[in-house]
Amino acid sequence: MRTRKRTVDRALLRDAAAIAAAMIAVGASFGAITIAYGLPTWVPFAMSTVVFAGGAQFLAVGLIAAGNPVAAVIAGLLLNARHLPFGLAVSTTIGDRWRDRLLGSHLMTDEVVAFTLREPDPARRRRTYWLIGVTLFTSWNAGTALGVLLGGATGDPAAFGLDAAFPAGLIALILPSLRDRPTRAAALAGAAVAVLATPVLPAGLPVLCALLGLAVLFIPRLRAASTPAADDRAAAGDRTAAGDRVSGMPAAGDQVSAVSAAGDRAAAVPAVGDRAAAVPAVGDSVSAGPAAAGPAPSAAAGPDRCPSEASC
């Protein structure tokens, strides 16, 4: 048991090192860009410690440099509004102690939340939150300092493909959660909404609009009401089962394949779940098992996850 725990932690440390390296590089470009805008040297340091939110920092220094600090605050806060639902999701992981909550909240970023949700076990989830949180805060600030020192010599992060590294990393981290069918339907519908809204809404809002994707969970309830499987499960608790019924909804399935073939295939790994989708009535009863087993999708996906999976 102890050996297994150690190897698992080593895998986590390796993943943390990978994301830290990328954070240093992007942090360096943030530091360099801020100086290139002609802002004082203390600005990037103050931003990276006090704000500690990559996207908002880039957006804000651009607007500050353009002489529009009010827009910088509004745009930055709009971009960071997603942290409120993130906080709701990771609150129990951070713990009950005030010190932990006050400190842990500041460490909250997209990557920390993604790493945390990947872990099915609560104790490991907590360790992951703090390890990744502290690692990212440190590497982001070290990167910022490096960028200020090196200036233009840091180069364009896009030339190194770092702009592709972060979305790919996020996708890798949420894949285990996406093996849960209702989560996948909501996530893919939400991602489609966000992408479509991006050209027309200011930065930050499209991602918040993705929460509309959760609405797909309500549609199949209407559909499933007419299937025999639904009647069986009505006794077991109507509302708990609602999420599972996404599997009966063809519209969600279409979204899935339209937006990302990779995401859809990922579901084929537990085999049963994906096949079941072909027949709504069967799909309903089959998927009831794993989804009803735990309150969190990540926990529900737990038993399916292979212990030898390199990244777990």
């Binding site: 806060l77 906080g87 030339a159 990779a262 999708p297």
Partner: protein, 102 residues
């Protein structure tokens, strides 16, 4: 003025982060709604990943970045190590750009 901007942005961001964490206790959430919280977080992260992969500001990001992300996503789906996913995505985008792909 500059320091005020940074402090307001920092305090505002921290407030958003902390209020989610503290609000969780104040809310009495039914089981299905509790189940919804990690789903909401995953949905936000998926939206973030997809918009970051496909869009650059309000416009389409070009071909190199989505291709890099696609290679990374494919590797992730094949259960490749996280490090490999991140490095392969970056390398693909960087090499495509080196070859002149936007």
């Amino acid at each position: 003025m500059l320091i005020a901007t940074i402090i307001v942005l920092g305090v505002g961001t921290y407030t958003l982060r902390l209020s989610g964490v503290l609000l969780r206790d104040r809310l009495v959430l039914s089981e299905p709604v509790q189940r919804l919280l990690p789903m909401a977080a995953t949905t936000l992260l998926a939206a973030l990943a997809m918009t970051a992969a496909l869009m650059d500001g309000a416009a389409f990001a070009g071909a190199a970045r989505p291709a890099g992300v696609a290679v990374g996503a494919l590797l992730a789906w094949r259960r490749a190590p996280f490090v490999l996913v991140v490095v392969a995505a970056a390398a693909t985008a960087a090499l495509l750009r080196l070859a002149g792909v936007p």
